[in-house]
Structures are given as C-alpha cells and as structure tokens.
C-alpha cells in the first residue's frame, strides 16, 4: 500500500521542536543509530513524594459522569500533564483538586490535605489558574494580582505582586486595564494571579490556550524552572505537542484515564512505521519495537541486496493519543 504523501511530509519541519518525530535513513548494515534513537529521552520522572493523589475519584452532574474512577499520582516538583478532548473532564478534575467541586466518590489529596474537607488549607498552598482568564476587566493587571493576593496575605505584599507580574513578563503592561490587553496577555495576568502567593502546587487549566508559539515556549521554560525549584505543576492541555514538556502524562476521555505514562513511554507504545525500498517500490510495516523488529524484517527479506532505503518513522505523540482515543470508541469532536 502506498504511503500517503502527507503523512511523510511535515515531519522535517516539526522535528526540531518535537523530538518525538524522527526520520532515519540507513543502509542495511548500519544498525547503530537506530538503537540510539529507540529510547528518546523526554523529561524524566523526578517526583519522589506525591503532591497530588486521586483514588477512584468520581463526579456526576445529573446523568453525566464527568469523572469516572480516576486514579492519579503526581510527584512533588514534577510537571504533570492532563490531555484529552474538550469535555473529557479535565476542568472538573482540576476544580476538584482546588476544592471547587466536591467529588461524589473516591478520595483526593493535595500535599496530604483533602481539598473538599479542608479547602481553606489547600488554597493557602495551591495556585489555580482557570481556563478562561477570570479577571476584573476594569482593573489594571497589577490591581488584579494585588486584589486576589489580598485574600491570602496582608501587609507588605507589593514585592510578591511585582515578582508575579515579572514572571509573566508583564512589567510594561502592569498599569493597563485588563480589557485593553490581548487574550494572550490576559492569560499572563491570570497566571500571575495564580502564583502571586508562592504556592507549592500550581493547577493550570489550559494555560497556553490562545498564546502564540513563542510565548508558549517561554511559558514552558518558566514552568520547568518552577518545577526545578520544587513547585508541582498540574497542567491541562488539548494541544498534544505540549505533552513532551511534562514528566508524566494522563490521557483523560469521557471522565476516564485511558493511559498514564511518561511521554517517552507513551511515545514508545505507539511503535514505528518501517518502510523498506528496493529500487522498484517500497513495503511498509508497523512495528512495536524497532530495535527488536527491524532485524526480523530484514531477515524476512533475506537481506535482499536490492534494498537501498530503510526509513523508520516513529509515531508522534499526537498519533499515539489519537490512536488510544480511537480504540476507546471513536473521536470526540469540538
């Protein structure tokens, strides 16, 4: 079967930013580079103690099951990504962690505290950024950060306000009323609000939605810095290419966790597509593990001297995730 041109195109451009996409062209005797590429290092699980944990978490809204026996474990000082289509339950889950939604069944703990039982305590060390930039549009960026910080502390909080504005590179826009700022800029103000009280755990609901790629990169760099300083970040996104920035990822769909792994394991689970050309045409085959399967394929071909090209294309995270969604029963639109 011929490979649709589009599937092989577009890979090169993305490969710099996205280490999950590779093309390797090797001669039959050159095995070495392939085995090096097999285990792509993408983030690492560094959490030892658990900052967030959910066990059998279930939440219903009427007949709709928003969360269906969700189990999660997020290590301290790590970046945890929650991906899934719209309506998967990501926001409900994040709002449960901050005590804004009371679970029907199961248990949740954030740094050892149950948010639905003791939300005051949880909120003192948790920062929450809602999906929409929930702000007072007639107040300035600085006034918004200062006002929400007042709920946590009083006295000389000016430094904390300035540092939070600084983190989101808002210094130049701090005195502008929020309604005069662009959508991406408002997201930055919203992030400043979430982190002004120096929380240990940051719950960010689609923080990079509506933000241009350049700033998105800056955001993720900032998130990594925060994680390195010991802050735990729990981030939802529906942009699957962002998952590579996370230490661990859960795929949520219709309230259920379909997969939970490191991005590299998730990537590896998708296997690769091997394409062998022999001058006249090409045969392709999907394999689970290139290192193990490629020799087998070559042996099957009897190490045909006519082979002049071997192309290996690893599945992208997006393909892996879409594949999992498909296996769960088709795609969700919207």
């Amino acid at each position: 079967m011929p490979v649709p041109a589009g599937r092989w195109k577009g890979v090169d451009g993305a490969s710099l930013l996205n280490p999950s996409v590779w093309i390797a062209t090797v001669l039959p005797q050159q095995w070495g580079p392939l085995s090096l590429l097999a285990g792509i290092p993408v983030g690492k699980s560094r959490g030892v103690r658990s900052a967030i944990s959910a066990r059998g978490l279930t939440k219903r809204f009427g007949d709709v099951v928003a969360l269906d026996r969700v189990d999660l474990e997020v290590g301290e000082g790590s970046i945890y990504g929650l991906v899934g289509p719209n309506g998967a339950g990501k926001t409900t889950l994040i709002r449960t962690l901050v005590g804004a939604v009371k679970p029907d069944e199961g248990s949740v703990s954030v740094a050892g505290v149950d948010p639905s039982a003791d939300k005051r305590q949880v909120r003192s060390f948790v920062g929450y950024m809602p999906q929409r930039s929930v702000l007072y549009s007639d107040l300035t960026a600085r006034e918004n950060v200062a006002f929400f910080l007042r709920g946590h502390s009083r006295g000389n909080a000016d430094d904390a306000v300035e540092q939070a504005l600084d983190f989101a590179s808002l210094d130049q826009f701090a005195n502008r009323q929020v309604h005069t700022l662009s959508g991406g800029m408002q997201q930055r103000v919203s992030l400043s609000v979430a982190m002004a009280h120096s929380p240990n755990v940051l719950l960010l609901d689609e923080p990079t939605a509506g933000i241009d790629p350049e700033l998105r990169h800056v955001f993720w760099e900032g998130f990594r810095e925060l994680a390195q300083s010991g802050v735990t970040l729990f981030i939802t996104t529906h942009q699957m290419d962002e998952v590579v920035h996370c230490d661990r990822v859960a795929l949520l769909r219709r309230g259920k966790v379909l997969a939970e792994a490191t991005p590299s394991d998730l990537l590896a689970s998708g296997g690769a597509l091997v394409r062998i050309g022999n001058g006249e045409g090409a045969a392709e085959q999907r394999v689970a593990d290139v290192v193990v399967d490629l020799p087998r394929i070559l042996h099957g071909n009897g190490l045909d001297p006519a082979i002049d090209r071997i192309e290996v294309r690893y599945s992208t995270l997006e393909e892996v995730i879409l594949g999992l969604v498909e296996r769960d029963g088709g795609s969700d639109s919207g």
């Binding site: 005590g99 804004a100 909120r123 929930v134 006002f147 709920g151 946590h152 000389n156 939070a164 120096s198």
Partner: protein
C-alpha cells in the same frame, strides 16, 4: 520562583476592606454607571414633585407622602444596583476565584456592602437635599439628620436584599423577575399608599416582610414632629433587619458545585 515576601496572615476585616476598596474603585471607574446611579433617583423625585404640583395636593398631604417616597426611591435604586452585581461575578467566575484565593462568604457579602454603602450614602444624601429644596421641609437639622439615618439604613437593607436575591439567581436574566417581586409589594403594602391596618391579614403579613414598612413607620413619626424612638420597635427593626439579611446573604452564597 517567587520567593515569599514579608506578609502577614489576613484578617476577615482586611479582606472585607480589600473587597470594599476594589468594588468602590470599579464603581468610580464606570462613569456611565456612576452618573446614572446618582442622577436617576434625583430625576424620579423631581417627577413626583411635578405630579404633586399639577394635582395641587395640599402641603400637609404632600409631606406625609413625599419623604417616605424619597426613601422608597433610594430603596428601589440601591436594591437593583446590588441585585445584579454578585450574579455578574458568579457568571464571570470571579466569585469562584475570590473563594479560591482565600476570601470567605461573609467577607465577600460585607465587602460588597461596604463598597456600595459609600454610593448609597451619597444617593440618600442627594435625595434628602433635593426633598428639602423642592418641598421646603421645615424640619430643623436634628429631624433632617434623623430622617437621613432612616433612609441610609433602608439603603443598606436594600443592598443586602439585592445581594441575597443575586445569590438565588444563577444568571443575570434570572435576577430580573425578582425585581418587581421586591419593589412592588414595598410600594403597595408598606403603608405608603394605604394604611397597613386597612389591608387584609395576609397583606399585613407582607407589609411586615418589607423593610419599607418599618422605614415608613419611623418617617411618619418624624414627619409628624416626633423623634426616632417614638416608634421604637420599627426603628430597632431596621438595623436588625440589615443584620439578618446580611447573614442570610452570606449563608446562601454558594461556593461548591
């Protein structure tokens, strides 16, 4: 990472103050709203004066009606102002964000009341000054101050009712049916139009639910030349009413879904 700076734990008073200041700042920044909120009650009182002039109503009757009616206008205006605000915050999700950032029910309700009370204070004072100018009330400073206190207390109650109503509604649209439900009985059953004891039993019950009833009782005594404490029960009922509604508003301010 943001290092922790020198901060102290907030107190309920400091958080209430922060909300009050924030609300006031928003009121002042919204010029169109501010001007409308200040001018509308003055216009309505002026219309009433025009009506009485045209009808040639005797002064004694006019004063018995017009001062409590001025109070009613303040009740009406301040109630509507606040009925919208909290539901607007709920819809915009800033209410939830306040909760997440440590603010609590009573602080939020009180903070709103503090912010809007500043506005209500100005509105009440304006209305009373206009009444004095248009109807040439012969009260003396003491009775004017007493009347002002009653109108001001009524304004605070009305705002607390507005907040309570906005807690019941989930959207701004749902607030609208409540508006006539509060202000029409206040006008018809508070003794403003017909003496309360002439109403049927159930009507008298409604009278006593409306804060306008107590305000009217006290104002009628002041108009007749008596003091604030002549109808002591009605006078004490006003701050008690404010406290109860405030507490109810705080208790019904939903946080979790």
């Amino acid at each position: 990472m943001v290092s922790s700076s020198v901060t102290e734990a907030p107190t309920p008073a400091s958080r209430t103050g922060a909300i009050g200041r924030r609300v006031l700042r928003q009121i002042i920044r919204d010029r169109r709203f501010l001007v409308t909120a200040l001018v509308a009650p003055l216009l309505i009182v002026f219309f009433v004066e025009t009506l009485f002039d045209a009808a040639g109503t005797p002064d004694a009757v006019t004063t018995r009606f017009v001062v409590p009616f001025g109070a009613y206008i303040v009740h009406f205006a301040t109630f509507i102002l606040t009925a919208i605000v909290l539901v607007r915050e709920r819809v915009a999700e800033t209410l939830e964000r306040m909760f997440v950032n440590g603010y609590r029910q009573l602080e939020i309700v009180s903070g709103y009341l503090v912010g809007y009370t500043v506005l209500a204070t100005v509105v009440s004072l304006n209305v009373l000054i206009e009444l004095q100018l248009l109807f040439d009330l012969d009260y003396g400073l003491g009775r004017l101050a007493a009347t002002y206190l009653v109108i001001w207390l009524l304004a605070v109650i009305s705002m607390a009712i507005g907040i309570l109503v906005s807690n019941v509604a989930r959207t701004e649209g749902q607030v609208i049916p409540f508006i006539p439900l509060v202000i029409v009985p206040s006008f018809l059953f508070s003794g403003l139009v017909v003496a309360v004891d002439q109403l049927p039993g159930w009507g008298q019950v409604i009278s006593r639910i409306s804060p306008m009833y107590y305000a009217n009782n006290v104002i009628q005594e002041l108009v007749a030349g008596n003091t604030l404490t002549t109808d002591l029960v009605s006078f004490i009922a006003l701050p008690v009413y404010a406290g109860v509604v405030l507490l109810l508003a705080a208790l019904t301010l939903r946080e979790q879904t």
